[in-house]
């Protein structure tokens, strides 16, 4: 006994530009009560501007409806591997948004921003302690910019050593995040790919073989994107240093080892962290993040500007290291994110940070054993923060791809894990439950994965159409790229860009 669902609006077809009506407005602008000065000559002025015209209530409804078409951590389990999607404490947003922080002008003299500066100083010190790399710049806006900073610091160190002309290669494992090779290239280096050994670790033999006077650095993700620790990395570090190169650490997965081992102690020269991962600042649908870069004393003079320092007069100031690679942004980085990260660090303390890594790793292993046998596990061994399964069996035996599995998970109420990454695992399903998921949620997620494995056996064809219960069905990504429509166009003028 069901009437058809009334034909629903094609919500996505109508942008805010297509709503409202000419003349409506969502806010008013105060009138100018003083004398009117003449405007500049009209050839300098705009004569038209097309923007939506909606009343305030309409605009609020539109974006509220859009938010309801989004899945966030507060909506449910979001086990994207490598992305470390965990609960974002609301108090961090609260403290960061107080007027004293929010209105501080970036050009303020240090005296007028001691509250912000001292907070940044203590964050800097905490990160230096936690990584064992005491020299830190908080300037990078995200992990990739942190990487760029680190590689440019190596560039500059080599320049000072007179070896920049000769050391033109950076070794990067094939399991590395895409930002690693992209950064190396952006910094002007040639990238040599290092294969992953059968046990999921760096292929030591290839490294030894490749390490020569043309190598500037080795970039290693630690733990790596398989959720595994590079065993013996401290010896590799010696090798690398012996060859006159630097060891760069991608510390985006620092959450796995916080409080348990320190990059500096193991011989890493420079590392970036992703505070929007390990330190739980919100992702915001793609930023803002923060990617501080931490390094040894040797590389400290090259750190990006600014570095926060406590001066002899007791004031905290922003300073430019002696041989700094320079600024990365017009001002001082994503300060609001840094304040949140500081709040997170203070809410946890050392024991808390150790509890984070402990529980994150236990959760990943718990998921590993729950799914064991249901999906292929190419590197079948205990993991750290994440575990990478493969949908190869499902693909081979039932023609069900990882893509289908991911989409079907949506019907089960979960955000899918990262798929098809790392590239070295076929049909990869890379899962990171993080420490903020309760065991019940991990069990429910595993149950959904197992149910899908059964559906793949019983109704393989059917899975290709998933999801059915999302705000929208499976989307045509190929056409989007082939005939790109990248902006609103007036009705009728909807031609590709």
């Amino acid at each position: 006994m069901t009437l058809p669902r009334p034909k629903t609006e094609d919500f996505g077809a109508r942008l805010s530009f297509d709503r409202g009506s000419p003349g409506r407005r969502a806010v008013d602008v105060p009138a100018w009560a003083g004398d009117e000065r003449p405007l500049p000559d009209t050839h300098l002025l705009r004569d038209s501007l097309r923007l939506p015209e909606l009343s305030q209530g309409e605009l609020v409804r539109y974006y509220t409806a859009l938010s309801a078409r989004n899945f966030g951590i507060d909506s449910g389990t979001y086990p994207l591997g490598s992305c470390t999607m965990k609960y974002n404490p609301k108090v961090d947003d609260l403290v960061a948004s107080s007027a004293g922080f929010a209105t501080a002008h970036p050009q303020s003299p240090a005296e007028e921003a001691q509250g912000t500066l001292r907070t940044l100083l203590e964050l800097r010190r905490g990160l230096g302690e936690a990584t064992g790399l005491p020299a830190v710049s908080l300037a990078p806006a995200a992990g990739a910019q942190g990487e760029l900073a680190g590689v440019l610091m190596i560039t500059r160190a080599l320049e000072d050593r007179g070896e920049l002309e000769t050391r033109r290669r950076i070794l990067v494992p094939d399991s590395a995040h895409g930002t690693n090779p992209a950064t190396a290239a952006m910094a002007g280096f040639a990238v040599t790919q290092i294969p992953t050994a059968a046990d999921g670790s760096l292929d030591r033999a290839t490294i030894e073989q490749e390490l020569d006077e043309s190598v500037a650095a080795v970039m290693v993700t630690a733990p790596n994107t398989l959720g595994l620790w590079e065993q013996g990395i401290e010896d590799v570090a010696d090798l690398i240093h012996g060859a006159g190169a630097y060891l760069y650490g991608d510390g985006a997965n620092f959450n796995a080892i916080m409080g348990r081992v320190r990059y500096g102690d193991l011989g890493f020269d420079v590392v970036h962290l992703n505070l929007h991962k390990s330190f739980s600042t919100p992702h915001g649908g793609g930023g803002p993040g923060a990617g501080p870069v931490c390094c040894s004393e040797e590389l400290a003079p090259y750190l990006p500007t600014p570095v926060v320092e406590e001066c002899e007069d007791g004031l905290v100031r922003l300073t430019a290291p002696e041989r700094s690679i320079g600024q990365l942004q017009q001002f001082h980085g994503n300060v609001g994110v840094l304040i949140r990260a500081y709040a997170y660090m203070r809410a946890l303390g050392l024991k808390g940070l150790r509890a984070v890594s402990g529980q994150a790793v236990l959760n990943a292993n718990y998921l590993r054993v729950l799914l064991h046998g249901h999906y292929d596990l190419p590197y079948d061994r205990p993991v750290l923060h994440e575990v990478v399964f493969s949908g190869s069996r499902q693909r081979r035996e039932h023609g069900v791809r990882t893509y289908d599995i991911a989409k079907r998970l949506i019907d089960h109420g979960f955000h899918p894990p990262t798929v098809y990454f790392p590239l070295i695992v076929e049909e990869a399903l890379m899962m990171e439950p993080t420490e903020t998921e309760p065991p019940e949620a991990i069990e429910a997620f595993a149950a959904a994965m197992i149910a899908i494995a059964e559906e793949a056996e019983e109704d393989p064809e059917e899975l290709h159409g998933a999801p059915w219960t999302a705000p929208i069905g499976r989307l045509d990504e190929a056409t989007a790229a082939r005939r790109p429509v990248l902006r609103w166009q007036e009705e009728g003028a909807d031609s590709p860009a």
């Binding site: 058809p4 034909k7 629903t8 919500f11 996505g12 530009f17 407005r25 602008v29 100018w32 003083g34 000559d41 002025l45 939506p52 015209e53 078409r69 989004n70 899945f71 992305c83 108090v91 947003d93 403290v95 107080s98 922080f101 929010a102 501080a104 002008h105 970036p106 303020s108 001691q114 509250g115 912000t116 302690e129 995200a142 590689v151 930002t179 992209a182 290239a185 649908g285 793609g286 930023g287 803002p288 320079g326 942004q329 001002f331 709040a343 809410a347 303390g349 808390g352 509890a355 989409k407 990262t418 065991p439 999801p467 989307l475 045509d476 989007a480 790229a481 429509v485 902006r487 609103w488």
Partner: protein
């Protein structure tokens, strides 16, 4: 009562952010087949395990709030008059921007890798791209980069790729921070960065000419002749535009720019000591597949909705990903991954709330307020406000005492002076401070400034 974080680590109550209790943990460890948490870390080198780390002990939430309120109070009083601009301007942000941006479905989402449950982020980003294209007069926008300076650096790298030339020219006066960042980013690529005082310094070695609009000292730039001169040498024109000023000013696209960058932070929220920021980046369509950053495209469902109730519906996806690091790796157009999505959302809502007329009115109000303040100051004995042509919201003030002293005198009176630009080469900047007055500067602040300057002038 135990200190809160002890719990999870030592068998007491768990930390509020970590649900698993000791009992949960015991059950899980048993299933995993290890005796304790430490056993899970056995791959880590024993010699370096569990080092001494000196971090402050954990704070409970009320303690944390108290600490950070105290810190916030150590900054200058937010209510104090402050005339700093120079890259960060106080704006009136509609209340709905913060309200909507705070919706946790937006705040706590990742980069939208699964479009079917990320239409909120994706469709908003498409709105953003559309707004940026309209404001700048460009064909294509990405979803935003880190900030204006790094976006400008990316623009230079794009110009270099597109023209295969190896130098870039920045027209003075340009924000020193922008110039600095272009230098940093050029370091790796081995590019030459020339700061040029005039367009006549362009040569065929230059990939692009970067022009700031309004320029660093506040003047409105006539872009069209610059575009013509640049194009005549095969040089691309990159315009670094204040998107708020574009409510009033001709779009750079119409004037001939090839790439436009800008800073979106001021229209998204407070200055926040500079960040989070938002780098606008838009270009003409031939550069589409050379752009850095994420781009969202419109598409359709592959299948009609399951209830048979209609045609495939419209949705949004990340697209043109073949440019990006996670596919193209070392051949990507940039290494950027996480950017500033939430700030872009706030920017979009502010600009759309103001709408076409509101943005124009706000820019005009800004213009009027600033010009009024400048005129009042120029009328004070002992003061000049040297102009370099038409200007928007920032003006130079030269007083009866040296710039440094003028700034100190204002600070002593509880007023944040404009930036000291007296060391700059432009003759108008000699002994001058650069004041910003915007649509959001309270009248009372301008009155206080004028009174303080008069007092300082009287005493000089």
């Amino acid at each position: 009562m135990a200190s809160p974080a002890d719990g999870a680590a030592n068998g007491g109550a768990p930390h509020p952010y970590i649900p698993a209790t000791e009992a949960d943990r015991a059950r899980m460890l048993e299933r995993v087949g290890v005796p304790d948490l430490d056993a899970l870390f056995s791959d880590l080198p024993a010699a370096f395990r569990d080092p001494a780390i000196d971090l402050p002990t954990a704070l409970t939430e009320p303690e944390l709030i108290a600490l950070l309120e105290e810190r916030a109070d150590e900054n200058a009083d937010p209510a104090r008059p402050n005339f700093l601009g120079a890259g960060a301007y106080r704006r009136s942000i509609p209340a709905i921007a913060a309200h909507l941006t705070a919706r946790s479905e937006f705040v706590t989402a990742y980069t939208p890798y699964q479009p079917e449950i990320s239409q909120g982020t994706l469709q908003s980003a498409f709105e953003y791209q559309s707004v940026v294209c309209e404001l700048t007069g460009m064909d294509v926008s990405n979803t935003g980069l880190y900030d204006v300076a790094s976006a400008t650096a990316e623009a230079c790298l794009l110009a270099v790729r597109a023209t295969k030339r190896e130098a870039v020219a920045l027209l003075e006066p340009i924000h020193p921070g922008t110039a600095e960042v272009v230098r940093t980013y050029s370091r790796g690529a081995g590019l030459r960065v020339d700061l040029v005082p005039s367009v006549s310094d362009l040569t065929e070695e230059h990939a692009c000419l970067v022009v700031q609009q309004p320029d660093f000292l506040g003047a409105i730039v006539d872009l069209e002749p610059l575009a013509e001169a640049a194009h005549a040498s095969g040089v691309l024109l990159v315009t670094v535009a204040d998107p708020f000023a574009l409510g009033l000013l001709r779009s750079p696209g119409e004037a001939g720019a090839d790439i436009v960058t800008g800073e979106g932070r001021d229209l998204a929220g407070g200055p926040g000591f500079g960040g989070p920021s938002l780098g606008l980046f838009a270009a003409r369509s031939p550069f589409m597949r050379q752009m850095p950053g994420r781009i969202v495209g419109r598409t359709q469902e592959l299948y009609p909705p399951p209830d048979g109730a209609g045609e495939p519906r419209t949705g949004y996806v990340l697209t043109l990903q073949a440019r990006e690091q996670f596919i193209r790796r070392e051949r990507a157009t940039s290494n950027i991954s996480t950017a500033q999505a939430l700030i872009a959302l706030a920017f979009t809502i502010t600009t759309q709330a103001l709408g076409p007329r509101g943005l124009r009115e706000a820019a005009e109000l800004c213009y009027q307020r600033a010009h009024d303040a400048s005129a009042r100051i120029a009328a004070l004995p002992g003061y000049e406000t040297p102009e370099r042509g038409p200007w928007f919201q920032e003006f130079l003030v030269r007083g009866p005492v040296p710039a440094e002293d003028l700034a100190a005198e204002l600070r002593a009176r509880g007023i944040g002076p404009g930036l000291d630009v007296s060391a700059r080469p432009e003759p108008e900047a000699r002994e001058a401070l650069l004041f910003a007055v915007t649509e959001a500067t309270p009248n009372a602040h301008v009155d206080a400034l004028v009174a303080a300057l008069a007092e300082i002038g009287g005493g000089a």
